[in-house]
């Protein structure tokens, strides 16, 4: 399973810090860019909702409970469908992969 591409039907969420949420409430695209000040960063961390076998509301609740990030009340989770992301990004880049690579507990 580790290292395999996620199914297109799966959903991922990425935490968006308050400072990267536009005033219209949407996440700025830069939140999905690799950090230039972190040379070893080769991917973005996300949470896989389908790894939590429950309804969507409960899945998000579990993500909040187990997140290692400093979640802020005015932060947001951006939810994305794997297949839709691959399709849209492929217009520009065909090397994007969304893979299963869980962090150690």
């Amino acid at each position: 399973m580790t290292g395999e591409d996620l199914p297109e039907s799966d959903h991922i969420v990425r935490y968006v810090k308050p400072s990267m949420i536009k005033q219209n409430g949407y996440a700025d695209g830069s939140t999905f860019m690799l950090r230039t000040d972190t040379q070893n960063e080769t991917g973005l961390s996300v949470n896989l909702l389908e790894a939590l076998r429950d309804d969507r509301s409960s899945q998000l609740s579990r993500v909040r409970q187990t997140s290692r990030l400093n979640l802020r009340r005015n932060g947001r989770f951006a939810e994305l469908n794997v297949g839709e992301v691959i399709q849209r990004v492929s217009d520009e880049i065909d090397t994007l992969r969304i893979t299963h690579d869980p962090l150690t507990a």
Partner: protein, 201 residues
Amino acid sequence: MNQGRAESGVASKLGNLHLAFKENKPNVQGDGDFRIESGPFPAHIAWRNFDNKQSEAGKFEFQTTGKYLSWSSSRLASVQTERSDLRQYESRLAYLRKEAAYEDRVINTISEKDFRHFVESQPHLLKGDLVLVDNGNLRAIWENNQGAQIGLQFLGGSSVQFVVFVHRSTGQQITRVTGRDTLIGLLQIIRALDVESLLFK
């Protein structure tokens, strides 16, 4: 000067330019500089006083008429109106600064300086959105309901990293143009991409 219309050796009236300064002395006092303010409107030269109180700022406009250069000056009121756009961002900047502190980081000083200069130098600039990138740089975004967007990350040193999403023709997918340029070079790119209406009134 008017864009692309400066001609060497013909501005004979420039010899009297010092009289304009003398006659309109209240408009040009203290430390400051002349800046060429460009945009979709005829470029003009404006005097900007370094004093943030703007108590002695003035504005000169130069226009070419045939072979001659004429100028007019206006006093503080118009300059203050042009510089008021930055006030629209002050509360947002304060919010980003507060959020950055929670994240144990700060807004890069040189990025903020460039952002402020960009807003101040473009009096017809529409108000955009503002976020703080992970590296501490400010990023401003202008967008419309059709998906067109201009994103500018202020890198400092008068450089910006830009991302432009633009429709090439009705119904076609959006084209993305990215790059890095100076603030002045950026405006030329904006014109070339015909997306000025996203930025300017």
